[in-house]
């Protein structure tokens, strides 16, 4: 299902002046998405919170890692208010995979967020989502764990965990009419997340249509291309010039890189402020933005199964192209013969007064 710009029933057409972001990282996460968020500079989270980005509503960010509160009920107060329907509008951000509580026999829990005020027992993440998601103006899944399940949902896992859309249902719609907005990445590329958040906030302000999402609910403009299409090692592939081990600056497909088939913009964008990345700087693409991550890509350091055939097919073409380009490169690596310090001008300049 694709949410086209302007097709969503936009209940916020009048726009909000103020909105709260309730961020819960008590999914099965490593909190790496929150940490990654603080690396964003375009824009930075403090720019958004301090109102330095024009056209956004005033943003109240509630995030455990960044909260100046003392914790506990002091920190949980806005979440409790939202659950009672007393805090509107809010954007719910979930970080981490959602465990399956139904597989537990008895009273245990896999992960909790504060205590249930009635019982004093740990309040499960699931019960928070059940209470908050129906009331949320928008729901955003931050990182591959929350979007698709991620590393903790790999084969052999004991917790039965999954992504947020798996838990809420892929047909889920928040109050804005938006489905879950998935920003995958293990962790999120900092600017990819802030970019998406800013669009959702502009939509909340009534200043933009809803962000266009693909069939896996990812922002189209960020995840529409493959790693390979933005990789500065991709030209080596075209020339069938492959790295045999990690000492080489060439294309890494034969040593485990999945870039040609993975939807992600990191090689083009870099990791932060254009610095770093994956295959462009010597890291194999392990598919960490993908719904099938990690199982489909393991073992990571082996050539992808499809790679053998495609790298073989490109060989004759690549070898010819590389040779021809080599010849032309050599040619363009020489200066023209008229640049010299002899007594005669040989540049082809022909002044009219000489004739």
């Amino acid at each position: 299902m694709t949410t086209q710009s302007g097709t969503t029933e936009a209940k916020a057409s009048n726009g909000f002046d103020e909105i709260t972001i309730l961020w819960i990282s008590e999914g099965m996460s490593c909190d790496g998405d929150t940490v990654s968020l603080t690396a964003a500079g375009q824009p930075s989270i403090e720019d958004v919170v301090l109102g330095l980005i024009p056209g956004l509503p005033k943003v109240n960010l509630v995030n455990k890692v960044l909260s100046p509160s003392l914790g506990g009920e002091d920190f949980l107060a806005p979440y409790r208010a939202a659950a009672r329907g007393e805090l509107e509008p809010f954007i719910l951000v979930i970080e981490g995979s959602i465990p399956n509580q139904n597989i537990i026999q008895g009273d245990g829990y896999w992960t909790s967020f504060g205590n249930d005020p009635e019982t004093g027992e740990p309040q499960t993440l699931n019960s928070w989502i059940d209470q908050l998601a129906p009331r949320a103006w928008a729901v955003v899944a931050a990182g591959t764990c929350a979007t698709f399940g991620g590393i903790h949902a790999m084969a052999g896992n004991p917790t039965g965990c999954m992504g947020l859309a798996d838990y809420l249902g892929w047909e889920f719609k928040a109050r804005s009419g938006l489905p879950v907005v998935n920003v995958p990445g293990c962790p999120i590329q900092p600017e990819n997340f802030m970019e998406t958040l800013v669009w959702v906030l502009q939509h909340a302000a009534g200043a933009a249509p809803p962000p266009p999402l693909d069939h896996m609910l990812r922002p189209q403009w960020l995840f529409g291309k493959t790693v390979h299409e933005g990789c500065d090692r991709a030209a080596y592939y075209e020339q069938a010039d492959f790295a045999k081990d990690y000492n080489s600056p060439k294309c890494q497909v034969k040593v485990g890189c999945w870039g040609p088939v993975v939807n992600c913009n990191v090689p083009k964008r870099g990791w932060m402020a254009g610095v770093g990345g994956c295959p462009n700087v010597g890291g194999i693409c392990i598919g960490c933005t993908m719904p099938s991550f990690p199982d489909a890509f393991m073992p990571f350091m082996d050539e992808p199964p499809g790679g053998t055939l495609s790298t073989m097919l490109v060989k004759p073409y690549g070898a010819v192209v590389r040779r021809l380009r080599g010849l032309t490169n050599d040619m363009v690596n020489h200066e023209p013969k008229w640049r010299h310090n002899k007594r005669k001008l040989t540049s082809g300049y022909d002044p009219h007064w000489r004739a």
């Binding site: 008590e26 099965m28 996460s29 490593c30 909190d31 790496g32 929150t34 940490v35 990654s36 603080t38 690396a39 403090e46 919170v49 455990k64 890692v65 960044l66 909260s67 100046p68 509160s69 003392l70 914790g71 506990g72 002091d74 920190f75 949980l76 537990i104 008895g106 009273d107 245990g108 829990y109 967020f113 504060g114 205590n115 991620g150 903790h152 790999m154 052999g156 917790t159 962790p187 081990d245 990690y246 000492n247 890494q252 990191v266 990791w271 932060m272 402020a273 610095v275 770093g276 990345g277 994956c278 700087v281 890291g283 392990i286 960490c288 990690p294 393991m298 073992p299 990571f300 350091m301």
Partner: protein, 597 residues
């Protein structure tokens, strides 16, 4: 009222109130601290630490290709994922018998140095210091703030703030100058990290056998120019922190008792020496001592051992209050180490993780964290070592060992001397960290900026050596290897907040057993089978309360300072519930609050 007055009077009938904080903010992960506080005598009489998260790495890694271990274990932690990858690679290199090229070790060390500078900065300035900022001190000890306004900052010539209160204002969240500058510095230092390890937090260019980072002259120049942009910030951070912590001792006599516990510190060593390390178990003592942060166990101020083989063999994973089934009746994976020494059934090599979700019961099982301990071979005690938040143990162990002697960092008698070069505004500066009198909250926090300086200074040395190699044409960064059918390996490293080990058993070229032990299970552990409390519990239990608020508006800032001084980070192992206290009982002869000297 002033707390010092109340403390000087004799004990009053106890007024015990239940107070808990769950979740704790400004940390990574799920941690809850549950206390009983005697408001009449202003002290904490009981503390339980609980983690409410289980994910099961050691379960789902079984049967996987061992080469994937570094990629998977990075995801244990969203702040120090690289420390896990590095540690996993160390363990794998032992198992595969591969020694990475020297340049790869330099690149790894440079990545780890950038990580320490980044993570300690963002944690200290954006998370810990909020507890010492103007807004917080005003809400908890208004008298102290008034005094801070009248107190000149002794090191104002370095950091530029006239009074202690000016420094505190600079730490106000999202608005203070230093708070905002620290966020910027955390970005520059993460760029340095990305230059070496590709991505932050989960690195992309780290492999067992070396790195995939392309060593080019600009790779190192780009790193160096960023490091020089933060070098003055580091000098200022040390000076500001010293000023504030010295002021706290002075303004609140007795504050040294806050978060104080017996000196029981563990450090597993960091920064491999590329000229010495070969990852062979038999040589682990030698290459462990050659690390640029010396491993060691410090008990009551004395160095017990800095031999990684002894450290390894003494590891014990205890249950007692954790939601797991015991593995004592399973088959051991490793009965003897490669030198023939017996390996205990409670050692990570032999652990089997069987989660049993259940109700939280503070008289029974109450945490998803287990209780790592270290078995002291002479005394037979199972020590609940802490990491001092990382830097305290690292500096202490390195200072007592006296083995680090480099152009910029030297272990000197009773301390560590660190020299940082001239920056944009400040001259070349030599800092000296001295072994403190106490292992307490303020000293854990004080050690952190000093270790930032330490990491920056070591980075300068690694840059010089790496650039030298590169310019002489030595650019190999990766060494190939075969995965053996059967092997064992262990990696010892320092995550930012302290000790990190990975233990690996390979059978049929697959992972048969894998147990990572990050610092937080050491620090956040619950009471073990012998009833010994974990370090947070021990440090908080018995500590005095200096906050001026009563039970109705109590914020628990002294407790929060103690817990945060350990740099809690519980994805790797773990909330404070904070409501108005419920008065439990009033007793006339307090039996709680045993001293923790």
């Amino acid at each position: 009222m002033t707390t010092t007055d109340s403390r000087s009077t004799k004990r009053k009938p106890a007024q015990i109130v239940d107070m808990s904080w769950d979740p704790i903010t400004r940390i990574i992960g799920n941690l809850g601290i549950y206390t009983k506080i005697d408001f009449a005598n202003r002290e904490v009489v009981e503390c339980h630490s609980t983690s409410s998260l289980f994910r099961g790495y050691s379960v789902f890694m079984k049967g996987k290709d061992p080469r994937d271990a570094g990629f998977i274990t990075s995801r244990i932690c969203g702040i120090c994922g690289d420390n896990h990858t590095t540690c996993s690679n160390y363990a794998q290199q032992m198992a595969y018998g591969v020694k990475p090229p020297k340049l790869a070790e330099h690149i790894t060390n440079l990545g780890e140095a950038a990580e320490y500078i980044f993570d300690h900065t963002i944690f200290q300035d954006n998370l810990v210091f909020v507890d010492f900022c103007e807004a917080m001190v005003k809400a908890t000890n208004p008298g102290v703030l008034t005094r801070a306004e009248r107190t000149d900052a002794p090191r104002g010539d370095v950091h530029g703030y006239r009074t202690i209160a000016d420094i505190m204002k600079a730490f106000n969240p999202f608005e203070g100058e230093v708070y905002k500058e620290a966020l910027k510095v955390s970005r520059i230092t993460r760029e340095m990290f990305c230059l070496m390890e590709g991505r932050h937090v989960h690195p992309s260019t780290m492999y067992p056998g070396g790195v995939g980072t392309m060593p080019q002259p600009n790779t190192f120049t780009d790193y160096l120019s960023r490091l020089m942009r933060v070098i003055d910030f580091i000098k200022k951070a040390v000076a500001m922190n010293d000023d504030v912590f010295d002021f706290f001792y002075e303004a609140l006599p007795g504050y040294e008792e806050v978060g104080k516990r017996r000196i029981l510190l563990g450090c597993w060593g960091a920064f491999q020496n590329p000229d010495v390390v070969d990852y062979r178990y038999a040589n682990m003592d030698r290459w462990g001592k050659a690390m640029y942060v010396t491993p060691g166990i410090v008990v009551d101020g004395q160095l017990v051992t800095n031999n990684l083989i002894d450290i390894n063999l003494g590891l014990r994973i205890m249950l007692g209050s954790s939601y797991y089934e015991d593995w004592v009746n399973e088959q051991p994976f490793v009965t003897h180490d490669p030198l023939g020494n017996p390996v205990d059934m409670r050692h990570p090599w032999n652990q089997t993780t069987v989660p049993v979700p259940q109700k939280r019961d503070f008289d029974g099982n109450y945490s998803w964290v287990m209780s790592p301990r270290w078995h002291h071979p002479q005394t037979g005690e199972h020590l609940a070592l802490d990491t001092g938040g990382g830097p305290l143990a690292r500096l202490w162990s390195t200072a007592l060992s006296g083995l680090v002697d480099t152009p910029y960092v030297k272990a000197v008698d009773g301390g560590i001397r660190i020299t940082l070069p001239k920056g944009e505004k400040l001259p070349e500066t030599t800092l000296e960290w001295r072994i403190p009198k106490w292992s307490n909250t303020l000293e854990r926090d004080r050690a952190r900026p000093y270790f930032i300086a330490y990491a920056a200074a070591m980075a300068l040395q690694f840059l010089e050596e790496a650039t030298g190699m590169l310019k002489s044409g030595d650019t190999k960064v990766y060494e190939n290897f075969e995965v053996p059918d059967e092997a064992i390996g262990c990696g010892f490293h320092e995550a930012v907040r302290g000790v990190l080990s990975h233990h690996l058993v390979i059978r049929d070229k697959k992972i048969a057993n894998y147990h990572p032990y990050p610092p937080t299970p050491w620090n956040a552990s619950p009471r073990d089978v012998h009833g010994i409390p974990g370090p947070y519990e021990d440090a908080v239990q018995g500590q005095p309360i200096f906050e001026e608020n009563g039970p109705d508006d109590f914020k628990g800032v002294d407790i929060m300072r103690t817990v945060r001084s350990f740099d809690p980070c519980l994805p790797c192992g773990v909330h404070m519930y904070m409501g108005k206290g419920k008065t439990l009982t009033t007793v006339h002869s307090p039996t709680y609050g045993a001293n923790h000297g």
